[in-house]
Symmetry: C2
Subunit: 722 residues, 2 copies
């Protein structure tokens, strides 16, 4: 499939198959928009019913065109699309946008037809965009190839390029951002059902496009989600922020996503993990995109997350503080020298605490804001500055803006403004700021969010740079693969732990007994107390089956318990295949954790960490990452959960062995990568994390082989977000 998209965005000739003379309808609009906006290439409407449309010669069929167009727009009914696509192939068309609806999004016959399209596209090597989409606008080259109200407007090309899986929403965003939001777009493409060129293909293209500075995306789900890791990394390396909607995050939202573009909403937890890792900025609202985009256009990144606020309105300062703290920033501690300088500037009834409140005294002394800014920007403990000017307007505003522009030019720290004057009353001031690319916002909340987005991105970039040398270990076990090959039933505890041990994950000492005498002999060797656990692939929940006895401290107790657990196991499931009874050392003390592996349809293998019991099961307090992970990433996971304090000594506990925990996560992630073709799900529940220096120990484990995925989700699976 073609993914060199230069000719897609800037085609030398375009065929419009199914073009209509009714210029209001979907099939009538593209020709109208292309000609109205001055498309410079050759246009070929195709429709046997007309000799011409809008004065452009119309052809009865694709075969009749005088050349092979770079792009075909397909506007016929769903049933006719396969035939037309084949004609495109025969004619040598490079790219086709299929606008028509009625494919996988309607299920049934639509799914079958969509498969046919995929086959045709592959046969002829056509780069297909759609079906079920709204086309594209390349503002830079005046290619308005699509339909919708927003195609009526003219767009000056800007620095943002976007791909959207939703046509209506995507074009609304382009329209509002470009014309009202102060953030003009360059290229915009909608991908609908994505049978060919995918959203990630377009993002990849934008990373390479020298004229695109900021990349935007609206996605419901990605069939090739794992590529987001590499693409996110490339964007970070290129210094091009990705601003992204990922929707369908609630149960109901997901239902809507599935019925809309027939994409499965991939696991949101995994998206979040990749977004964090690669500094991809999640966007909530249309305005956020314009706000964040203008933030990045300032061309400066903060070196840390320490913000200083200077305000003439105390209230706005507090509001911004609440907002940025909630989004991961910190308020800078001003240095004593800075405070000394400020004492000479700020009125006595102002405040030197950060936010620094110079008060409305600005009306009596216009230089107040800028002298304060100068002092603060030079403080080494400040990474970025927000300046809140309330509603200053008119000539006064212009004079202050001029001074701000001069001051900001002398620093490489980002300086943002909250300025609430309406556009109409401070046009000169705003024009000065815009020319200097100083981001300004009407509200302290929006300003704070934009700063936090810049800081989030900058932090990911620093993390990436700091870890450039670190790689995830590659582990491999032929024994493990052999154990799992062809398995369909659950792999029970003892075998599962032996597989864990293959990857150096510490497990409890234990041996399998098949007679009572053997059990006693094992316990004597191992030392009391021990646990007995029936091992059967047909009894995944041993405790529920009462097939477990703990803390057995003598031969007599073991002998009695041995019979008891077997009787209970058979009572629970009379056909259960019993492998034996596991004799296991008791692991006491420490904190219970859960480690897991999932193998997501779109993302592939991932690793999960959470604290035991209610934390993961009731509170869903868990961290996910795509596997494999480096130690630094594993450490991030551990620090990310809400219950983290429990590992560092909360409630008078000794600090837990976080190093050993991190090591176990890293190794489990290497296992997940190595066994990705064999493992559907894996749970270590619990993993006991002992006090510092004492290590970790897997106490129970279960593996669902990959061929076993079809079976209804096991209860353990439900504890993970998916």
């Amino acid at each position: 499939m073609r993914t060199d998209l230069e000719r897609f965005f800037n085609p030398r000739a375009i065929a419009i198959v199914g073009a209509s003379r009714d210029l209001i309808t979907i099939s009538g609009q593209p020709l109208k928009h292309l000609t109205a906006h001055g498309y410079g290439g050759r246009l070929y409407p195709v429709n046997p019913r007309y000799p011409e449309i809008l004065g452009v010669k119309c052809y009865p069929a694709l075969a009749d065109l005088p050349e092979a167009p770079d792009l075909a727009l397909i506007l016929v009914n769903a049933a006719r699309v396969p035939e037309v696509l084949r004609q495109c192939g025969a004619k040598g068309v490079r790219y086709a946008i299929i606008f028509s609806s009625g494919f996988s999004e309607v299920g049934g016959g639509g799914v079958v037809m969509q498969r046919e399209l995929i086959a045709i596209a592959r046969e002829y090597g056509i780069g297909v965009v759609g079906p079920n989409c709204q086309g594209m606008i390349n503002a830079a080259d005046r290619v308005y190839a699509g339909f919708g109200s927003v195609f009526n407007a003219d767009y000056e090309p800007g620095a943002v390029s976007m791909v959207s899986q939703s046509g209506g929403f995507g074009f609304s965003v382009m329209n509002l951002s470009s014309l009202d939001g102060g953030l003009p777009f360059r290229q915009m493409v909608t991908t609908g059902n994505e049978i060919g060129v995918s959203a990630l293909d377009f993002i990849n293209y934008y990373i390479q496009d020298p004229n695109t500075e900021i990349i935007a995306g609206y996605i419901e789900g990605l069939k090739d989600a794992r590529r987001l890791l590499d693409i996110g990394d490339a964007a970070l390396a290129a210094g091009k922020p990705i601003l992204m909607w990922k929707v369908g995050n609630t149960e109901h939202g997901q239902k809507a996503a599935a019925s809309h573009t027939a994409n499965l909403g991939g696991a949101m937890a995994l998206y979040r993990a990749v977004f964090r890792e690669k500094g991809i900025i999640q966007v909530e609202d249309i305005q956020d995109l314009a706000d964040y985009g203008r933030a990045f256009r300032c061309g400066k990144l903060p070196r840390g997350n320490r913000l200083a606020i200077i305000t003439i309105s105390g209230g706005a300062g507090i509001l911004m503080t609440d907002e940025v703290i909630g989004r991961g920033m910190r308020m800078a501690e001003l240095a004593p020298q800075t405070l000394d300088r400020l004492r000479g500037i700020v009125p006595s009834f102002g405040s030197l605490l950060n936010p620094v409140d110079v008060t409305a005294a600005i009306f009596n002394d216009l230089t107040l804001v800028n002298r304060t800014l100068q002092a603060i920007v030079e403080d080494p403990g400040v990474d970025c500055v927000a300046l809140i000017n309330a509603s200053l307007q008119g000539e006064l505003a212009e004079r202050i803006a001029r001074e701000i522009v001069a001051g900001v030019a002398r620093t490489d720290k980002p300086v943002f403004l909250t300025w609430s004057a309406r556009d109409a009353v401070a046009p000169e001031a705003y024009a000065l700021l815009d020319a200097a690319r100083i981001p300004h916002y009407k509200s302290p909340v929006r300003c704070g969010r934009a700063l936090a987005a810049l800081s989030w991105y900058s932090e990911a970039k620093r993390r990436r740079d700091g870890r450039s040398g670190e790689t995830a270990p590659v582990l491999s076990s032929a024994i493990a693969r052999k154990t799992l090959a062809g398995k369909t039933a659950d792999v029970t505890e003892h075998s599962a732990k032996r597989i864990l041990a293959e990857y150096d994950i510490p497990v409890t000492r234990e041996e399998l007994a098949t007679t009572k005498e053997e059990a006693c002999a094992i316990a004597r060797r191992m030392g009391y107390p021990v646990a007995l656990k029936v091992q059967s692939p047909d009894i995944p929940h041993k405790t529920e089956a009462r097939a477990v006895r703990l803390n057995l401290a003598s031969e007599a107790e073991i002998a009695a318990a041995y019979d008891e657990v077997l009787v209970n196991a058979r009572a629970y499931n009379k056909d259960a295949r019993i492998e034996g009874v596991l004799v296991q050392e008791m692991a006491t003390g420490g904190t219970e954790a859960i480690l897991g592996v999932t193998n997501d349809d779109q993302f592939g293998p991932a690793v999960m960490f959470g604290l035991g019991g209610i934390f993961t099961e009731v509170l869903k307090d868990a961290a996910f990452r795509l596997a494999p992970v480096t130690p630094a990433i594993a450490r991030d996971m551990v620090g990310e959960i809400k219950g983290y304090a429990l590992l560092t000594g909360a409630r008078g506990r000794p600090p837990a062995d976080v190093d050993a925990l991190v090591d176990a996560i890293v190794k489990l992630s290497a296992l997940a990568a190595d066994l990705k073709d064999h493992v559907a799900e894996l749970d270590i529940n619990p993993l006991i994390v002992m006090p510092e220096g004492k290590g970790v120990k897997a106490v129970d484990a279960l593996i669902k082989p990959r061929s076993n995925t079809g079976i209804a989700a096991d209860e353990r699976g439900k504890t993970r977000e998916r």
Copy 2:
């Protein structure tokens, strides 16, 4: 103090003390703005240096005025304010706005001077607004009594009145909402340090003002916070929504609040509790206020929280779904009859699932949207509808809008629109919607938030109506009050539990022993096993002191343990006063909860509920309400915490006795109200909640008497959000 504010907002005469001829400065602006906007009353600038300002006769002193003005604006330096306020009193001025800064917000001498102002205001009965504020605008009567850039604009009076503790921010909100946000304001007042008329006084006035439909507030803290319960209730009864910023919510935000208007940021958890109870809508950003305000102007309230979405862009539908679900709404399940009707309307490649996606086929059939709307609005399972029109514009937009207006007129269910066309390209359509008061928003996220605000308010109103008959029980115990009277030391477990028992809160069976023999005798009567716990006001943390032994099953064990706990207690604190050793039944099984009482400086007594251990201490998962509470409110508290599932049978536990838990919360809240003068803090930790029908039991308790508050916060206190 005066709080009949009619003459404040619409004074017959205004004195401007310290008026300046430099019209740019703070003291120069008020006279300029009052005359420029056509104030209809009499104006008296007061300044001995000028014979007139702006052609208005200027007086050397207040005493020289020909009448007592209803309102004085005080613009002199802080040091001169007491003198001027006294002159106001002597002259018979009713209200004064003190603009000057330099009082409690600067600490030290400023605090002393502020106290002097309070005394003067009280002596003369002057209603003081400020100091450290920016004045007010009464757009309805053209009274522009203040300073700032936004005073330059002219405001058509609207339906919203606002009070703000921040001048700069408050006036920015008025300006942007009135002129750009489609939500004109009627009155706006800023209150600064609030030594006289408070924010709640103004809200109370707005509730009674027949021309105010919507009330807005920006607050950092309330000295009379408990009044918010009654005022919120009155607003709810009057059908006037309160849209409120409560800032200073983060640790840093709170610091800023304290230094700004010298208000203590009251406990955010208590604010949240009152907001929820009274349907007060928390506002995050300036735009939210205009968005929510326009939502309420539609004049319809949903009868439930079930939303149906009709969209021509699938993506926008998903985005809105995510947003509203996250804010407590539900997606309506459409009835089979509705689905049947829709099958005849919606194209086959659309979606009948909610969100109902009629697709871009709207371009080929304009009636699609309205026929769908009609079918859905008539579904009894739908409480409100959002219609998403993407960017439809021009004549097409106008025709659709006309049909929508007709359709919406026929239903009493709220119908909101997401319509992303820019104002310039759909002016007729938007004018039609505005005239019909149909709320419309540019983005699905903003539309969803506004709907959720309406739903939140409506839910509180229904809850209030449904509970009109229910009252919180009033309990009273002379014994408890006597026990606590004059106490300064912590009240230890046994006494604390006897106080709980006075209010019918179940406690463990237990008796205090002062000899080993007595302890054994008690245990024999009570039955084994028992716990022994040293009781001393000087050892609040018995476990830490190893002064507790559990599960003692024989006389021998008791005898040994008795000596041991006393030795440990003395080793822990050799001067500890020992009251005796408590012999207590062992409470086993059940779920550990924590109940607590706080006595907030601003809110007064409140009750807290959380699950035991990590839930409250690490995860801060707790619910608060002002005391006393009704059973329905207590049940809300229980259902509100994240760990709630643990009480209803998660992880294979038996369901807990929630009824008994609710009853204990109600009774504890009655205790909190009855003992509000005696109890600073109270903890029941743990309260064991037994399985259904088996009740609850307080196992340990501690009371800090109110006179004891000065002592450094105990560790237990820290577990509560304050």
